[in-house]
């Protein structure tokens, strides 16, 4: 089968890192190659073969391919692997459409459930490099399972969510990132009276805005966006105000009626979602968060260098938000969720429920065959400036033809 494969090569990652500095002219494809590889064999009967229809390119994929992500997670990755963890596909045994909950927790590994997995907190699984399959945080980082950027992959039964017919493939491929956004939003209590900043309006930022609006509906959502399309969608998804990165400080100051002391605000935003998580974005988020407020790192941070003086002095909570899973009941008792008791307290389930309602598929702006992966990655790397939001591969010609036929019928 055809697949885009990442091999462990310091030279290639190094070259990618160097090339990413000149991202407007060089693609981050050095660490990736298009190969013919054997289809993956199921470790046991709990695994299912899946043919991806669409598989998104995530910010974390780009970060990994450009050598900008931290090497701290290398122990949780098995090389060579096929990336792609935002997947809508067809399971071969039933021919049903599914989305894949990509996290590879204890259940997928055939292990007794760890303390976290037993509570449904699969995002915090403690045994990511044990069991029936090789190490891997998620599908898309594991040698045993393959990933969405291929014509075939393996998924554990527990990872699969059969899709209702009324969900389009575009909506479906955004379910996994939407689940991340919902989890992000539920990481910290937010009151209806709160002012919230969403810093960064790539896919995750925009989905965070949408999740915030639909689940919490806080008093004010301020989106920080660089590019016109991002600004337009941020408003459509529920932001009350969209500002450029250089204007976020003054805007938050004005909205919170703060004064300025030594470059920080006397008050600030109650909660800030940093959907970029770079040194500069985290530093800016600290400046605009009120004392005892919270910053949630939704983007994937790497090695960052930040002056944390004001995080300390202002007693700001800095929280991580990784993938999805069962959510804290306390957080679910707030806002709109309180009135929707039929919804399950699991962010992935919530994402499946909400994806069509929120029309998240509108974020899918570009799709490519695997053969055009260089072009796809180039667009994904420079998505904002090139008018793109979510870029995805459509790896399976067979599935595409089938979908087309169904559409015609």
């Amino acid at each position: 089968m055809k697949a885009l494969v990442v091999e462990k090569s310091l030279t290639k990652f190094g070259a990618a890192k160097v090339s990413s500095v000149f991202k407007d002219i060089v693609n981050p494809h050095f660490a990736l190659r298009l190969s013919q590889i054997p289809e993956k064999k199921r470790p046991n009967e709990n695994w299912v073969e899946v043919e991806p229809i669409l598989s998104g390119i995530c910010g974390s994929d780009i970060s990994m391919l450009t050598g900008n992500s931290s090497r701290a997670l290398e122990e949780f990755v098995s090389f060579p692997f096929v990336p792609g963890h935002e997947i809508v596909g067809i399971r071969r045994d039933t021919n049903k459409r599914v989305v894949i909950e990509a996290v590879l927790g204890c259940r997928t590994r055939g292990l007794e459930l760890c303390n976290n997995c037993s509570k449904g907190f699969i995002d915090n699984c403690l045994r990511l490099n044990e069991g029936d399959i090789k190490a891997g945080l998620q599908t898309g980082y594991c040698n045993s399972t393959s990933g969405g950027w291929s014509e075939q992959l393996l998924a554990h039964e527990s990872q699969l969510h059969e899709l209702p017919e009324d969900i389009t493939n575009s909506d479906a491929v955004l379910i996994e990132p939407l689940a991340c956004a919902i989890h992000t939003v539920l990481r910290t209590p937010i009151l209806a009276s709160d002012r919230v900043v969403v810093y960064g309006c790539g896919t995750l930022g925009l989905l965070t805005i949408s999740a915030l609006k639909s689940l919490i509906n806080p008093k004010e959502i301020i989106a920080v966006a660089k590019y016109p399309l991002q600004k337009e969608i941020a408003l459509r998804f529920g932001a009350d105000q969209v500002v450029s990165p250089d204007r976020v400080g003054p805007s938050v100051r004005r909205l919170t009626r703060s004064t300025v002391i030594g470059g920080t605000l006397s008050s600030g935003s109650d909660v800030v979602f940093d959907c970029i998580a770079s040194s500069s974005s985290i530093a800016e988020c600290i400046k605009i968060t009120r004392p005892k407020g919270s910053i949630v790192l939704a983007g994937m941070p790497g090695n960052v260098k930040i002056d944390l003086t004001f995080l300390w002095q202002r007693e700001i909570n800095l929280l991580g938000a990784y993938t999805y899973g069962n959510e804290s009941i306390d957080h679910l008792k707030i806002g709109v969720l309180d009135k929707q008791s039929n919804l399950k307290p699991n962010s992935f389930d919530l994402a499946i429920e909400l994806a069509p309602k929120l029309k998240v598929g509108t974020l899918l702006t570009h799709t490519y065959d695997l053969a055009h992966y260089k072009e796809a990655l180039d667009i994904a790397l420079n998505s904002g400036s090139k008018g793109a939001i979510k870029v995805a591969f459509k790896p399976n010609l067979k599935q595409r033809l089938k979908t087309k036929k169904e559409e015609i019928n």
Partner: protein, 529 residues
């Protein structure tokens, strides 16, 4: 030598190119044949002995007022208020008129034995003046006598303890002014009346007022009902101030008004070509123009700015009148008109202005884009009596580089207004309804206004409201040579050259439009019939 009156030139083939101010510089434009160019009257002869004239004015008041000396008594509370840095423009060569007048007032007070004397810079919502600026306006002697003892104040419209609520006018307008002034036995207000809008009841009712009071006439409805600010009888801005001033009088607040007028001698002799009509330029004028233009074109903007900010005008006093506010102001207005009025027949399809580097609100600072709009559409457009120079639906062409640049010390709320308000709407009424209050009551702007040298948070709104009449009247505004992003944010169009601007105007006013160029400064008022 008698002054020549204002002049309207009909451009023909032999007319030399016309000088346009262009920020911190200038250029020559060849205007289409048939265009009109309005030139200000030449400077009136100044008063030969200003000190004597001041003394005589205080001794011989106008209207229902005793001489200043007779209004004073030894244990009285005397407040002397004076115009701030916004007047005159450019700042005048020392000694400033304010210094001369205040020194005379203080001499009289000393003769009477008045000890409780306080000076107040009538800032309204303008920025606080710096020490050098105060020294320039008042002279070192006055400054050193009052400032070290805390007797030289700058009006603080946000000092709740320092304000006195007087009451409401018959139209429900709140009147609230400086407590020190309101509780004084006498307020002496020292004006420099550069244009007809200045002075009268506006001096105290605006200069010493709070936001609560000012907002009754500094709003869009008032601006739209003022046609123009230079014609008191057709200016709702003045009507409101007059109602307030009369309430002050009714409530027993005594004001001794001193108003002074200046001649049109605006620029130092080395720049005399700026005040001359181009066909009268001699060899020296041409050489000065060419050499200064070449030098300015090659200088960085901050250096150009510092050069222009160092210019002190050779303005000279042409009249002084003192006494009762309204009677004084009538004569002042006549004197301003006598210096500045030019009669014009009929409106034109297009009016053009070359905007200089300075406006009342950027002395020693940057003419930011909001102030560019205000100078062109708020001030220059309103320099008329009768009808605007441009017909309804016509086009205004402004020439200015309009840099995307702000002075963060002087204009902090301007930056946020430009970025966060004008990016949402340029409609003055929408802006007033949706944004004004949050800026006006913002604690950070308030802090900077009270303790730094910042204009009040609401000030950029007022600048935009000044433009409301023009924005309602004209069909298009074009800025020649403006920064693309800044002009777009203002909601105007940008042209690279004056010729391009004329072509763009034709979309609005049709082919072969009539054009009037208002050749200011030096300042003039167009009396349009």
């Amino acid at each position: 030598m008698t002054q020549r009156p204002g002049f309207v030139l009909d451009v023909d083939r032999s007319t030399p190119p016309t000088l346009f101010w262009h920020g911190e510089g200038w250029k020559l434009e060849k205007l289409p044949v048939g265009s009109r160019v309005i030139y200000a009257p030449e400077p009136k002869s100044p008063i030969k002995d200003p000190s004597r004239a001041i003394y005589e004015a205080l001794e011989n008041p106008i209207g229902d007022s005793k001489p200043l000396k007779d209004l004073m008594f030894s244990d009285m509370k005397l407040t002397i208020a004076f115009d701030d840095i916004s007047l005159p423009l450019p700042p005048m060569q020392a000694p400033d008129i304010r210094q001369r007048v205040i020194e005379t007032v203080l001499e009289i007070a000393a003769e009477v034995g008045v000890e409780d004397v306080v000076l107040i810079a009538a800032l309204a919502l303008h920025r606080r003046m710096t020490e050098p600026e105060l020294r320039h306006a008042l002279g070192n002697r006055v400054f050193d006598a009052f400032n070290p003892h805390g007797l030289l104040l700058q009006h603080d419209a946000e000092d709740l303890d320092g304000l006195e609520y007087i009451g409401k006018t018959e139209k429900g307008e709140d009147v609230e002014i400086s407590k020190r002034a309101a509780t004084s036995d006498l307020i002496v207000y020292v004006n420099i009346n550069l244009v007809a809008m200045d002075g009268g009841h506006k001096s105290v009712a605006t200069g010493l007022a709070s936001y609560k009071s000012l907002k009754h006439h500094h709003n869009v409805a008032t601006m739209l009902a003022s046609k123009s600010f230079m014609d008191q009888h057709k200016s709702e801005l003045h009507s409101s101030n007059w109602r307030m001033g009369r309430l002050l009088k009714k409530e027993g607040i005594k004001i001794f008004q001193i108003e002074t007028t200046l001649n049109n001698n605006t620029f130092p002799s080395q720049f005399r070509f700026l005040e001359k009509r181009e066909w009268e330029w001699d060899l020296r004028d041409r050489a000065t123009y060419l050499s200064s233009k070449k030098a300015l074109d090659n200088l960085p903007s901050n250096l150009k700015r510092s050069i222009f900010n160092s210019i002190n005008s050779p303005h000279k006093m042409t009249s002084i009148q003192a006494g009762e506010v309204e009677e004084v102001h009538k004569i002042t207005t006549e004197n301003v008109y006598a210096q500045q009025m030019v009669s014009i027949e009929g409106q034109s399809d297009i009016v053009s202005f070359g905007l200089p580097y300075i406006s009342p609100y950027n002395v020693n600072s940057v003419l930011n884009p909001i102030l560019v709009a205000c100078l062109g559409l708020g001030y220059f457009f309103n320099l008329y009596r009768g009808k605007p120079l441009v017909r309804e639906g016509g086009v205004v062409i402004l020439s200015h580089p309009t840099p995307y640049e702000f002075n963060p010390v002087h204009h902090p709320s301007y930056i946020d207004f430009f970025e966060d308000v004008l990016s949402v709407s340029t409609d003055p009424l929408y802006i007033q309804e949706n944004f004004e209050e949050s800026f006006a009551t913002d604690p950070w702007y308030r802090h900077l206004y009270r303790t730094g040298n910042a204009y009040h948070g609401v000030h950029p709104f007022y600048m935009w409201y000044w433009c409301a009449h023009a924005l309602e009247h004209v069909g298009k505004v074009i800025i020649v040579g403006g920064d693309v992003r800044a002009v777009k944010r203002l909601g105007f169009q940008r042209a690279s050259t004056f010729r391009d601007a004329l072509e763009m105007a034709q979309d609005t006013v049709g082919s072969n439009p009539s054009l009037t160029h208002f050749h200011i400064p030096p300042l003039a008022i167009a009396d349009v019939s």
